[in-house]
């Protein structure tokens, strides 16, 4: 009985949570709805809010922006940045742009894959890390670079990966 009780509470807590996020999304939509090229910023912000882009959010955005769902999906599918799958608490993006690539980005990526035991696009079983690749976030002078959530880590060496990831593994570590 206690189990079902606690799950009931859990649901009640979750529902208003999502409602609040949709209300935030509404404000964003109000600003971008009629702006030309407004879809991409809306999707970026929505992904920030929800952690990823679930189907109901995408359909909501399509309806509110008066755009075909097929087009919204087409834009989401075009950019690696967007994810339609729930992701871990921390999203690691390894830059494989030209500068990072030639300065060892690939080795950095290999080291992270090995450390976490996941491939690109996957999430660790404990839901702490998701791994993605990116094409240049404008930190070429500091190559090879990776981003973990909004933190940029510069001149990353494969040997230092464990050390870089460690703070994010702590249970109390919140997203920056």
């Amino acid at each position: 009985m206690s189990n079902s009780d606690s799950s009931g509470i859990c649901c009640c807590e979750k529902e208003p949570d999502k409602k609040a996020l949709f209300m935030e999304l509404d404000e964003v939509l109000l600003e971008y709805r009629t702006k030309k090229g407004g879809l991409i910023p809306v999707l970026q912000i929505a992904q920030g809010l929800f952690g990823y882009l679930p189907e109901d959010v995408l359909r909501y955005i399509a309806t509110k922006m008066d755009k075909p769902y097929s087009e919204v999906a087409g834009v989401v599918g075009f950019y690696l940045f967007f994810s339609t799958q729930p992701r871990g608490k921390n999203v690691i993006r390894v830059c494989l742009g030209t500068a990072c690539y030639v300065r060892g980005g690939k080795q950095v990526l290999a080291a992270i894959k090995k450390e976490l035991g996941i491939d690109v696009g996957e999430t660790t079983e404990d839901k702490v890390f998701s791994l993605e690749v990116a094409r240049c976030f404008g930190a070429c002078g500091l190559a090879p670079a990776i981003m973990i959530n909004d933190d940029v880590h510069q001149r990353v060496k494969p040997a230092r990966i464990k050390q870089i990831l460690a703070p994010y593994c702590e249970p109390e570590m919140e997203n920056a």
Binding site: L58, P68, Y69, S70, E71, V72, A73, G74, G77, F78, Y79, T84
Partner: protein, 590 residues
């Protein structure tokens, strides 16, 4: 006017003309794949490359406007090699099973590769992960053959405003399809088949049902009956190399008989029947509104086009009452064959196989609708497109061009000219007015040669007003009323018109909508590729068929009169209501 030089020819063309169009004007044909006249010019496929003096790279002629003193070369080594390379790369990822493809010898990629002199595949490249979509009744998509030209995206999004298709993913892995490359049954596809009509390759086609028809014809226990839609007779000849607009009614009838059909009936007959029912329904609605002061849904919308019906069920469920309850002519024929005709030949409905030949892919869907079984079994069993019939005639070894003419069978094969023009935009309206006006006033419709010219032609939305004067006593409530009608073709135009009506901005009594551009003559099941010139040629043929008939008005068709006397009773009567009318249902937009 802009003066330029193309391949050493001095050319003078209007400002805004593209290099491609300028070339066409002087008889230079540039190969194209993604370009489609009046539909799309986006420079995506790069097949139409030409050299422009002073410009470093070759340019896509379909999107390059002409400019003063421009010097263009369309046929030098550099251009030829570049075009060839572009097509070779397209072929490298194309599933090239030409021999078994339904577009074999009717494929733009195949013929361009041939014209460019490509004789071997230099790049046997990787093929992207692809999929086959057989989720709808009308259409089959095979993305292995897709060359991402986006013609289908443009017609689905801009012309039909359904937006079922859009490029998904990126680069080599791009798939043209519904959101996240799902199947068509996950979106509001109305199966109009305009995507299939513009596809340059075999990536989108109708579901082929020719084998099912052969099986029925081979079955000695089945009475196999065929009906052909008005639009087939003006297009079928194109399957055999005839010019668009060649009328082949008589040859088609002979071919169907030789194939083994037990009776050849005309959807024209049931188009006449539709006019009797729909005309009566319109007059009844007007009477209820004007005399009985009832709340009646007006304007009344025509209901012949199944894509349009699905569109209303998805997008305007609050206005379903405006749709005429009349079944389409295809479905009326199906019901009449399995009741009226079945009784005449002493057969049960289940002993009959009803085959339709339609210019349409949505008709396959319509026949399978759950409501369409008023005879006790499915009223129409198998629906073929014009293209499928063309293939079957070839399979049967029939030399189509050499066939003599013959007449369709009684009692469901005789029709008026009004039924023929169901094939083109404005035609159902004209046919209805020919009958309704005469019914109300006792006089002939006051238009030259009975043609309601304001609603004819390829303009997207057309209107007409007709003042009703000198009514017969029974219809005196219509005296002095100006009947306002409108006609739209393509769902984009239909959407505009319905929105205007819903907002009160426009008021009409009667509205005709056809899903496809130009009406059924431009349907998704017609021989490819249908340009405006082809549409006009087919429409001209249809009007010629109409004008050549001794009977031009539906209510004067003696077999229609007989069918009411012997069987149906009266229009909108108890039996006709049961057999010839239907219901519509709101459909969720998934």
């Amino acid at each position: 006017m802009i003066n330029l030089t193309i391949d050493n020819n001095a050319v003078s063309v209007e400002e805004g003309t593209t290099v491609l169009e300028a070339c066409k004007q002087i008889g230079i044909s540039i190969p194209t794949l993604c370009y489609l006249e009046k539909v799309q010019a986006i420079g995506a496929c790069r097949v139409c490359l030409v050299e422009v003096e002073g410009v470093k790279d070759l340019v896509a002629s379909c999107v390059m406007p002409v400019s003063e003193k421009m010097v263009v070369r369309t046929n030098n080594r550099r251009v030829r090699e570049a075009r060839k390379l572009v097509v070779e790369l397209l072929l490298s990822e194309h599933e090239g099973d030409c021999q078994t493809c339904d577009r074999n010898e009717d494929c733009e990629l195949q013929s361009i590769a041939h014209d460019l002199g490509i004789r071997k595949l230099r790049y046997p490249g990787e093929k992207a992960a692809r999929y086959q979509d057989e989720s709808t009744i009308g259409l089959v998509r095979n993305s292995e053959k897709c060359i991402s030209c986006r013609r289908c995206v443009t017609v689905c999004t801009q012309m039909q405003t359904i937006s079922a298709l859009f490029p998904q993913g990126r680069g080599f892995k791009t798939i043209i399809g519904p959101a996240f490359a799902n199947n068509l049954d996950t979106v509001t596809c109305v199966q109009c088949g305009q995507c299939a009509a513009v596809c340059p390759v075999g990536a989108i086609s109708e579901r082929d049902q020719t084998d099912e028809v052969w099986a029925a014809l081979d079955d000695p226990d089945k009475v196999v009956v065929v009906q052909t839609a008005p639009a087939i007779r003006a297009a079928l000849g194109e399957c055999f190399g005839m010019e668009p607009g060649t009328l082949v009614t008589g040859k088609m009838t002979t071919a169907l008989r030789r194939m083994g059909f037990d009776a050849v009936f005309d959807t024209d007959f049931s188009a006449d029947l539709t006019i009797m029912e729909e005309g009566t329904e319109l007059l009844t609605r007007l009477k209820r509104a004007l005399v009985d002061k009832e709340q009646v849904a007006l304007p009344m919308f025509t209901s012949c086009s199944p894509g349009w019906i699905l569109f209303m069920e998805y997008y305007f469920p609050d206005m379903l009452e405006n749709l005429s309850t009349c079944k389409s002519p295809q479905q009326m024929m199906g019901t009449m064959v399995k009741t009226y005709y079945a009784r005449k030949i002493g057969k049960k409905p289940e002993d009959i196989c009803m085959v339709s030949v339609m210019p349409c892919t949505a008709k396959k869907y319509e026949a399978a609708r759950a409501e369409m079984n008023d005879s006790g079994v499915q009223d129409v069993d198998i629906v073929l497109t014009t293209r499928e019939l063309g293939r079957m005639i070839s399979q049967a070894g029939i030399d189509f061009a050499a066939l003599e003419d013959s007449e369709m069978d009684a009692p469901l094969g005789l029709s008026s000219g009004a039924a023929d023009i169901f094939a083109n935009t404005g035609g159902v309206m004209e046919a209805a007015l020919r009958t309704a006006y005469e019914l109300v006033t006792g006089r002939t419709l006051p238009f030259e040669n009975l043609h309601v010219t304001p609603v004819a032609g390829l303009e997207g939305i057309k209107e007409a007003s007709i003042l009703i004067e000198g009514t017969l006593p029974e219809w005196s409530f219509l005296e002095g009323i100006t009947v306002k009608v409108a006609v739209a073709h393509t769902l984009g135009n239909a959407r505009k018109l319905v929105e205007k009506i819903r907002s009160g901005e426009a008021e009409y009594h009667f509205v005709e909508v056809m899903t496809c551009p130009g009406g059924c003559i431009g349907g998704g099941g017609q021989p490819r590729i249908t340009t405006d010139a082809v549409r006009e040629a087919r429409i001209a043929a249809i009007y010629a068929e109409d004008e050549g008939k001794p009977i031009r008005k539906s209510h004067e068709n003696p077999d229609i009169i007989k069918a009411y006397e012997e069987f149906l009773g009266e229009p909108l009567g108890h039996l006709s209501h049961k057999l010839l009318h239907t219901n519509y249902f709101k459909k969720e937009r998934v």
